[in-house]
């Protein structure tokens, strides 16, 4: 590589890193507790489990859960009904205060024993430190603009990784892999560590960085899909009177199961004015049973009045890609050992970012000192990022 191209790539590495580092540090630090959010949630919040009953106890009709929820909160709107991920035989019913239930507004969650239709828990899902950390990690409490901004920072981070790889070669020409020179000034040691940790964690950094970027555009992607399918779904109902009656929710589930054989229903969106559903359909979300297909959710749309299947097409490729990218960002798909590995790699990322800043600060100081004494060769020996 010519000296000129080294200089150009150095400049790319310096500026892409400088702009995104502060935000990436924030993401790494807030991401660390989020890796263990399941464990932390369990520690602080003990949710009531369903009672011990013989294994062959039949499930109660879902309509009974709905009746209980309606009777308890007649002024609220039942939006979603979902099978609990962690608790066996528990179904949660989510209610909103307004029919539109704008994004960000929390639902009231009623938990039921799915066999006895007994209410076992109520959760307003209000605050909680982990929730704040999660929102900060996602959008810095700024909503969609914050989310998209972090996406741009993520792209800059990817650019800084790529330029880092390009610069790795000229810097390592005379050094064996992983050599950390400890005899000279601390700056040299930290340059070597920056290169070593960056080289070892590169693929993970790229994977988590890119999947993070994909996640920042999840809302626009879902909106795009919605805009694409909604007109077709709603067209037959235009100009018709409001819903006279709702189809039976248990019939809805039976039909959806039949349509998507092999998949398990995870939640049902009731007919709603909210953006995540439609006013004229039930949406039954289902998932597959293998580790990869259990991340791929397929919706079945059913007519709200007749309960007939309208469509059960899979999601478009970009939403599938989004769904598969999620575990790769969260590290929650291989048990606790994988989470620990994720945490260690996250800490390694913090060291790479912090050492990068340290090298840049040191470089500025040393180049100022150098210009004072006009001794150019000293720079070459310790140069990290070209100025």
């Amino acid at each position: 590589m010519t000296a000129r191209s080294v200089k150009w790539w150095s400049r790319v590495h310096k500026w892409t890193s400088l702009i995104c580092t502060l935000f990436l540090l924030m993401l790494c630090v807030t991401g660390l507790p989020l890796i263990f959010h399941d464990e932390i949630d369990d520690l602080f919040k003990s949710e009531a489990a369903a009672r011990e009953l013989p294994a062959d106890t039949p499930q109660a009709p879902l309509s009974r859960l709905i009746e209980v929820a309606e009777a308890r909160y007649p002024q609220r709107y039942i939006q979603v009904l979902g099978w609990d991920d962690d608790r066996a035989n528990v179904v949660n019913v989510f209610l909103s205060e307004t029919p539109e239930s704008p994004p960000g507004k929390r639902f009231l969650k009623l938990s039921f024993d799915s066999r006895t239709a007994e209410l076992i828990g109520e959760d307003a899902q209000q605050s909680g430190l982990m929730r704040i950390i999660r929102i900060f990690h996602r959008d810095m409490l700024l909503g969609l603009p914050g989310e998209l901004f972090l996406g741009v920072m993520g792209l800059l981070f990817v650019a800084s990784l790529v330029s880092g790889v390009v610069l790795y070669a000229p810097f390592m020409r005379r050094l064996a892999f992983g050599a950390v020179r400890r005899t000279g000034v601390p700056r040299v040691k930290w340059l070597d560590l920056h290169n070593l940790i960056g080289a070892v964690t590169l693929v993970w950094l790229l994977a988590v960085g890119l999947t993070g970027v994909i996640n920042t555009i999840s809302l626009p992607l879902f909106s795009a899909w919605r805009a694409q399918v909604m007109p077709e779904l709603i067209a037959p109902h235009l100009g018709k009177p409001p819903l006279a009656q709702l189809a039976d929710i248990d019939d809805i589930v039976t039909t959806a199961r039949r349509a998507l054989d092999g998949n398990t229903p995870t939640s049902i969106v009731l007919p709603t004015q909210a953006r995540f559903g439609t006013p004229r359909h039930f949406i039954v979300w289902t998932k597959g049973s293998t580790p990869i297909t259990s991340r791929l959710f397929t919706p079945a749309m059913l007519d709200a009045e007749t309960g007939q299947l309208v469509t059960a097409r899979g999601l478009p490729w970009y939403l599938r890609a989004l769904q598969v990218s999620r575990p790769l960002h969260f590290g929650d798909y291989g048990g606790l050992p994988l989470k620990i590995i994720w945490a260690l790699l996250d800490i390694a990322a913090i060291v790479v970012l912090a050492s990068g800043v340290y090298l840049w600060l040191g470089k500025r100081k040393s180049s100022r000192a150098v210009t004072q004494v006009r001794a150019q060769p000293a720079v070459a020996a310790t140069s990290g990022i070209g100025s």
Partner: protein, 59 residues
Amino acid sequence: MNRLRQTTGDIFRWPLWLGVLTVVGLASALFGNDGWDALSWIALAIPLAVLGWKASGHS
């Protein structure tokens, strides 16, 4: 001070293999549970071990 002069292939040999291990580790836990998870832990632990070893001053 040192005579070492590596080709680009030499320079990227280690990072490349560790990167391949990372890809295997990231992918395998997606494919299945149990054995696939264990493969993922091992494949991802090796680069971390190499990192720890090198960073602690072994050459």
